[in-house]
């Protein structure tokens, strides 16, 4: 047998959108290569959920239902994927490049004696092979990668690939995994949900980012004020993270996160090369800056030259009107 596996991620009883994007792309590639696509659903109490994948055009699901996965970390998931890939002689395995997806895919690749083409932003079929485009140097360059060993593992950058609704009848196969003795040596003993940030930066469709132009940490309330009615995540430049105004997880750039939202609003950010690398693949960039010579304006689709302390409150007002209308 051969085919493509698409690894889903379940969180709070739902499929994570980023993993549905991986499923969608796997289906498209499967069609181009005439390969059957099986979605893999793993966890505790996930069997029923697998049936709902028909909504996304999935006709085959492989389910690993195991009570021990309740507080499990990455290793058992990676072992399960490697075992399924071997047993099904999979040609390709598609993952989402979410934090968890990256950790699990890399571990699975070790068990399969290969590496992952991580963070793909485009996948093309050329002469029956995949040609995968991925950003390197945080997006300062793009590399085109080909896979030399089967199975080929790929992880897909969130927000880049689309999810299509469809309808299919799902055939569910239960798969039981022979976990290794050490599979459960790391346990998740607690989870703290981020309080201030309800929208995850790397998966957000709108990001409002702030830099030194905000003058001090407390003024980030202006950024949060605009992010709130827009349903946006809050980002930050390296300068303000280095100064301790914001935690590192909010940092956008080469030494922080690389993001590609639909809309990126840079406020009081001059646009250092390392910041631009992290956000240049955003679909639309807006820049607000006092200095009309700031490099950020060179990449921005729309710019306002002005003081963030005057412009941001007005933007928040407009965003609230918009939120009230919808």
């Amino acid at each position: 047998m051969s085919g493509i596996l698409a690894i889903t991620e379940v969180k709070d009883g739902k499929f994570r959108r980023a993993s549905l994007e991986a499923v969608g792309e796997a289906l498209r590639i499967g069609q181009a290569l005439s390969l059957e696509v099986s979605a893999v659903v793993m966890g505790t109490g996930v069997s029923e959920l697998a049936g709902s994948l028909g909504e996304y055009g999935v006709s085959k699901a492989i389910v690993v239902e195991d009570d021990r996965l309740e507080n499990a970390y990455t290793q058992p998931y990676a072992e399960a994927i490697a075992e399924i890939a071997k047993s099904k002689e999979a040609d390709y395995v598609f993952f989402s490049a979410s934090a968890r997806g990256k950790a699990i895919s890399a571990l699975a690749s070790a068990y399969l004696k290969t590496a992952v083409v991580s963070d793909c932003v485009q996948i093309q079929v050329e002469d029956g092979e995949l040609s995968c485009q991925r950003p390197v140097y945080a997006g300062k360059a793009l590399s085109v990668v080909k896979i030399q060993k089967k199975p080929g593992l790929l992880s897909l950058r969130p927000n880049v690939f689309s999810v299509e609704k469809n309808s299919a009848e799902v055939a569910v196969e239960n798969f039981s995994v022979n976990f290794s003795e050490t599979a459960f040596r790391v346990k998740v003993v607690g989870v703290e949900k981020a309080k201030e940030q309800s929208v995850e930066l790397s998966e957000a469709s709108i990001i409002v980012s702030g830099g030194r132009g905000l003058k001090e940490a407390a003024n980030f309330s202006l950024i949060e004020g605009l992010a709130d009615p827009l349903g946006a995540a809050v980002g930050a430049s390296r300068a303000v993270v280095d100064d301790g105004w914001r935690p590192h997880k909010d940092q956008v750039g080469q030494t922080g996160k690389t993001v590609s939202p639909n809309l990126y609003i840079a406020c009081g950010i001059s646009g250092a090369i390392q910041h631009l690398a992290g956000m240049r693949t955003s679909k639309v960039i807006v820049a607000i800056n006092k200095d009309e010579e700031a490099p950020i304006f060179k990449v921005a689709d729309y710019g306002i030259v002005g003081d963030v302390f005057e412009v941001l409150p007005k933007m928040t007002e407009e965003a609230k009107k918009l939120a009230a209308d919808s």
Partner: protein, 253 residues
């Protein structure tokens, strides 16, 4: 306790990337190399553990060409406070993560570390897989993306890792491996005396056993320049027009 920290040599973050004549690697002429920033954080963190506990040895392992720029990167790690370094000689650093990890694992095996540290990803190829593959090949558990100091307690270790939308608290058996994200510690200035001392520390060169490539880079391209530069207006008065454009023209609101 022995801590091994894996470090990769990467171009400085301020580097403007140029594609080399081969078409699939960067032009390294005039490029300044630094330890990958997350790896450097891991070194700093290891040295802080050493300062707070007796009998801790910190060993740096890297894979790269035996040339001055690689030595400079290793001397930098030794100046932070690592005890010695091992350079696994390889013509370049442009290997896929499986090739790099298997070469690292072969060398690290002989060191039998209690704690194996990595930066979460190298900022050149951005793969972020070497920590996972190396620790799997060494059969060590890995905490991925540790964002705060570990709680080391005999046969177990507790770590806090950033995941999408929060922090996970993990408990693992020890010895273990961890990949380090920003904010775990900050890099201190290196006093001259430490830099001088570092110049006398041992760097051992070993040869690399390189596996066949799992991935090949066919081409490296520079992204299309964004055509930006459109100024909607000056100050708060331009905001309604900006919102109209975002709604009607860009259709993102």
């Amino acid at each position: 306790m022995k801590i091994v920290v894996c470090v990769k040599r990467v171009p400085d973050t301020a580097t403007k990337i140029k594609v080399g004549a081969e078409g699939n690697v960067i032009d390294t002429k005039d490029v300044e190399f630094i330890p990958s920033p997350y790896d450097e954080l891991a070194v700093e963190y290891a040295v802080r553990i050493q300062e707070n506990q007796s009998d801790v040895e910190v060993v740096i392992v890297t894979l790269g060409p035996a040339e001055a720029s690689t030595e400079k990167v290793l001397r930098r790690c030794l100046a932070i406070g690592a005890n010695r370094a091992i350079l696994i000689e390889s013509a370049g650093t442009d290997h896929d993560p499986y090739v790099i990890a298997s070469a690292l694992a072969n060398t690290i095996k002989e060191e039998s570390p209690d704690l194996l540290l990595f930066g979460i990803q190298a900022i050149d190829d951005d793969y972020g897989q070497v920590s996972s593959i190396t620790s799997a090949l060494l059969d060590m558990p890995l905490l991925w993306g540790v964002s705060e100091p570990l709680e080391l307690g005999g046969s177990t270790v507790k770590g806090r890792c950033e995941v999408d939308g929060g922090v996970e608290i993990l408990e693992s058996s020890f010895p273990c491996a961890a990949s380090i994200k920003g904010s775990i510690t900050d890099i201190r200035m290196c006093p001259l005396i430490k830099i001088r001392r570092a110049s006398k520390k041992e760097i051992k060169n070993v040869s690399a056993q390189l596996e066949d490539s799992a991935l090949s880079v066919e081409k490296l391209e520079l992204p299309a320049e964004r055509v930006g530069g459109r100024i909607v207006g000056q100050g708060a008065d331009a905001v309604p027009e900006l919102f109209r454009l975002l709604r009607e023209e860009a259709k993102v609101l």
